[in-house]
């Protein structure tokens, strides 16, 4: 699909990025989770094979899938935008996936009160925005107010992650204390998201149009805006004096690259060619069929594992009534031949899901036994639920046909063909799937429509599944089963690791097998194509880390 439709992307990636989009420069983590085969594996493909150190300088050309028009930082909730802003904006904190802990970044230290209603951040010394303004406590407070209260003059709504925000005050020379209206254990994580990237007070004073322009986004990150050709490319230059990377980053200094050029390549068919011919150093959204060509042509296939995310799934909504019976959903769950999906429309860069959490996620439990393809069982379950096969092969009950609709963004190159195949598989068991996957126009309205039975998605899930499926932000199943909400609340309130782990396991069992509200497909991975000279690593949220990237033989 041509995917020139960012507003819709915003939606799905909105979910994606929504809570804790974080940078993790840890390649090995992904490697461990990635059962990759033929081609250069893992998140740091080239890094392992090169013994020589990073090369300084050079211009790195990165191709995204669609252009961005609205760069307003608080709305940075989709891949195209956060992948770029990631290198422009620093955050107070940093989520270290390896340890599963929040570590310091611009905030050298932070602490919360027991009730999780007051947070105090100590701001690192010597950090400046690229316009020269110091990134001090006062600047942070201004950012907090903008995030928590919105910016009236610029028609910027408050950041949803800061819905509990009440106020903040500057303490002493370099401390900021935030007060919340209600307790929120997720608040710290919210401060690590790209959507809460820190911008210069000058930027905050601009009106909405001003804040939407990349030229006006002044951050403290390793790259600084240089020039732009609307809808065609944006060029960033490195910030030479940068020396305040996240505490766990390998490169603590300025970026190796001189320049970063972001271009757009909406046509899927051209992405492989773009890296093969060396027109770009890195491209996102390589489709499975082109992976071999890239590898064979000397390029790199770089699957960035979405360790922070749930697996790709069809989240179930039940308002239409057709899927109200858990048996029907269970039938659909075992009516999917996941191996066939992998063999047909995916590649070795992809791993079949065995739960709603990916294999590398803490708390993952293997439910593969319950996910095995079993069309006979599916048919039996559907029969039991009272859905009888009609004249056209589609099951019916009470005059209603078992016709189900799927919506998803077009952000994943494999989602549409995958559902095409699922549509075939379900036809076998008498279920008709209306495949509106990758139709962004449809998504704009369907995502919040509980009558649309499936939402094809994957979500950031740090820790438990409560924040994802809990009632507050549940755009997945739209609260299809309120009974589960108690479980999600309990999980979020868990005090010990063991208890938490058990509750997370229970959540997975409920979502995948018992209630079957999440038809899981494969672990999230964004497959990048890289030229042979590119050395780049990815966050556990699949964003490229340009601060640590370099080009050999430059």
């Amino acid at each position: 699909m041509g995917n020139p439709t960012p507003p819709a992307n915003r939606r799905s990636q909105a979910r994606l990025g929504i809570k804790f989009l974080t940078i993790l420069g840890v390649a090995t983590l992904a490697l461990s989770a990635c059962g990759s085969g033929a081609h250069a594996p893992g998140n740091a493909a080239a890094a392992g094979s090169e013994s020589s150190g990073p090369v300084q300088g050079g211009t790195f050309v990165y191709a995204e899938v669609t252009p961005i028009n609205n760069w307003q930082t608080q709305a940075a909730r989709f891949y195209e935008k956060s992948n770029v802003l990631n290198s422009v904006l620093d955050r107070l904190t940093y989520f270290d996936a390896k340890s599963g802990k929040i570590v310091g970044w611009i905030a050298s230290d932070f602490k919360a009160n027991e009730k999780q209603t007051e947070f105090t951040f100590t701001i690192r010394d010597g950090v400046t925005f690229s316009d020269g303004t110091p990134l001090d406590a006062a600047a942070v407070k201004e950012n907090f107010d903008a995030l928590g209260l919105g910016i009236k003059n610029a028609q910027v709504a408050p950041n949803v992650d800061f819905s509990a925000y009440k106020s903040s005050e500057v303490l002493g020379k370099n401390q900021v204390k935030v007060t919340l209206k209600t307790p929120d254990a997720n608040f710290l994580r919210a401060t690590s998201s790209v959507t809460s990237g820190l911008v210069s007070p000058a930027t905050l004073k601009l009106d909405n149009a001003g804040q939407s322009a990349i030229a006006n986004i002044v951050g403290s990150g390793p790259f600084v805006f240089e020039s732009e050709k609307t809808d065609e490319e944006v060029t960033f230059a490195k910030r030479a004096e940068y020396k305040w990377a996240p505490q766990t980053a390998a490169n603590q200094g300025a970026a190796y690259l001189d320049k970063l050029v972001v271009k757009y390549l909406p046509e899927v068919a051209h992405r492989a060619g773009a890296v093969q011919t060396g027109q770009v150093d890195l491209v996102r959204g390589l489709q499975p069929i082109d992976e071999q060509a890239v590898a064979a042509g000397g390029g790199q296939v770089l699957p960035a594992q979405g360790v922070d995310l749930t697996t790709n799934m069809a989240a179930v909504r039940i308002a239409s009534g057709k899927l109200a019976d858990a048996k029907v959903r269970q039938a659909l769950q075992v009516g999917i031949d996941r191996q066939s999906i992998k063999d047909t429309v995916l590649s070795d860069s992809y791993v079949i899901a065995d739960s709603v959490l990916n294999h590398a996620a803490p708390g993952f439990i293997d439910l593969s036994a319950d996910l095995a393809y079993n069309p006979e069982k599916a048919k039996a379950l559907l029969d039991e639920a009272g859905w009888k096969v009609g004249a056209d092969g589609i099951r019916e009950k009470d005059g209603q046909k078992l016709e189900l609709t799927i919506t998803s963004s077009n952000n994943s190159v494999v989602i549409k063909p995958a559902f095409e195949l699922i549509e075939q598989q379900w036809r076998e068991i008498g279920v008709k799937l209306i495949n509106r996957a990758a139709d962004n126009t449809f998504l704009t309205t369907a995502m919040i429509d509980p009558n649309i039975e499936f939402f094809g998605t994957r979500q950031f899930a740090y820790g438990g599944l409560g924040p994802v499926f809990g009632p507050e932000n549940n755009t997945q199943t739209l609260n299809a089963d309120p009974e589960l909400n108690a479980l999600f609340a309990k999980e979020r309130a868990a005090t010990t690791d063991a208890a938490h782990k058990e509750l997370v396991a229970e959540e997975q069992r409920q979502l995948v097998t018992e209630k079957a509200l999440s038809l899981v497909l494969w672990d999230e991975v964004q497959v990048y194509g890289g030229s042979s000279a590119a050395h780049v690593e990815f966050t556990s949220g699949t964003a490229p880390i340009f601060q640590g990237a370099w080009k050999s033989g430059k």
Binding site: M1, G2, N3, P4, T5, E267, V268, A269, H270, A272, G273, Q287, I289, D290, A293, S340, D343, T344, V345, N410, K416, P417, E420, L421, E423, Q424, R427, I434, N435, R436, A438, D439, N440, T441, F442
Partner: protein
């Protein structure tokens, strides 16, 4: 989304001086020659025969391909064209030729709906403009201007977005875009025919407005309209494929032609046949329809 070729030409506007003796009637049967000649021309049959096959695809797809167009064999995915799979197989192992054949009816229905909307609304507007007086003409012409001024493509996008994408909304969207060209052609043809003596004679022979319109004006205006009909069918097929390319097509697994090339392009680098062969079918059909339009124009011209 495209312009039709049958625009009235200069001759219809600038009246030649017409002395009393202009245009001697020629002798016997010269006037019949063009028609019979056109019907006998092998070029016409070379145009019609393949189109008849295509209509066969639409009516009895199973006679032309034994493969299931919507259920593939995953293990046979992305096979090159061969004796077994003439057009190869797609990413799900479906036979592309079967998809083209089975997609015909959907394509022709969608494009046909578009053309029908253009034809009916356009004929109504054109007739109104040409026969209902100067005020009606002025109003109708402005309306036609508006339809031209707002790119039909944008209208199609809005319609397809507003309603579920599928044959009906695609047909309506593309159809609205073609109203203007039909209206223009009908108007100019009706104006031409209306000024002919036999129309006046029909009134003198007791004809009423509607009887004259239906017995004389419309039948004699139909040549260019039929020609446009054929051409516009091709244009509509292309417009639908353009919308498919932009992501506004019917949802899968519909094997609609426009969608086949639009979706197949994703594999342009690795499986050329997915977009090229259905593309060739469309190009051929559109050209044949344009040719048919020319022939119709000739046959119905006297």
């Amino acid at each position: 989304m495209s312009i039709k070729i049958d625009e009235p030409l200069l001759e219809s506007v600038v009246e030649p001086d017409s002395p009393d003796t202009a245009g001697k009637t020629s002798g016997a049967n010269t006037a019949t020659e063009p028609k019979q000649g056109a019907l006998r021309s092998p070029a016409l049959w070379l145009t019609v025969a393949p189109l008849v096959v295509v209509i066969g695809w639409a009516l009895f797809p199973s006679l032309f391909s034994g493969f299931d167009p919507i259920t593939g064999v995953p293990a046979h995915k992305l096979q090159e064209p061969s004796a077994q799979h003439w057009f190869g197989t797609d990413h799900l192992g479906r036979d592309v030729f079967a998809r083209v054949v089975h997609g015909t009816s959907q394509t022709l229905l969608t494009a046909g709906l578009a053309v029908l909307i253009g034809l009916i609304a356009g004929t109504g507007l054109g007739l109104l403009a040409a026969t209902a007086g100067r005020a009606a003409d002025a109003v109708t012409m402005r309306l036609i201007d508006v339809l031209l001024a707002v790119p039909g493509f944008l209208i199609s996008l809005i319609i397809v977005t507003a309603f579920e994408p599928g044959p009906v909304s695609l047909g309506i969207g593309v159809g609205i875009a073609s109203i203007a060209s039909f209206a223009r052609v009908v108007r100019s043809e009706v104006l031409r025919v209306r000024s002919l003596d036999y129309v006046e004679a029909a009134f003198m022979n007791g004809g009423t407005y509607w009887s004259v319109v239906f017995k004389h004006i419309l039948p004699n205006s139909c040549g260019p309209v039929l020609a446009l009909l054929a051409v516009d069918l091709g244009v509509a097929i292309l417009a639908i494929s353009g919308l498919g390319f932009l992501g506004f097509g019917s949802p899968p697994p519909t094997p609609e032609w426009g969608l086949l090339i639009a979706e197949g392009r994703q594999y342009l680098a690795s499986a050329w046949w997915l977009t090229t062969l259905p593309g060739a079918v469309i190009v051929a059909v559109v050209i044949l329809l344009a040719g048919l339009g020319r022939h119709l124009h000739k046959i119905f011209k006297f």
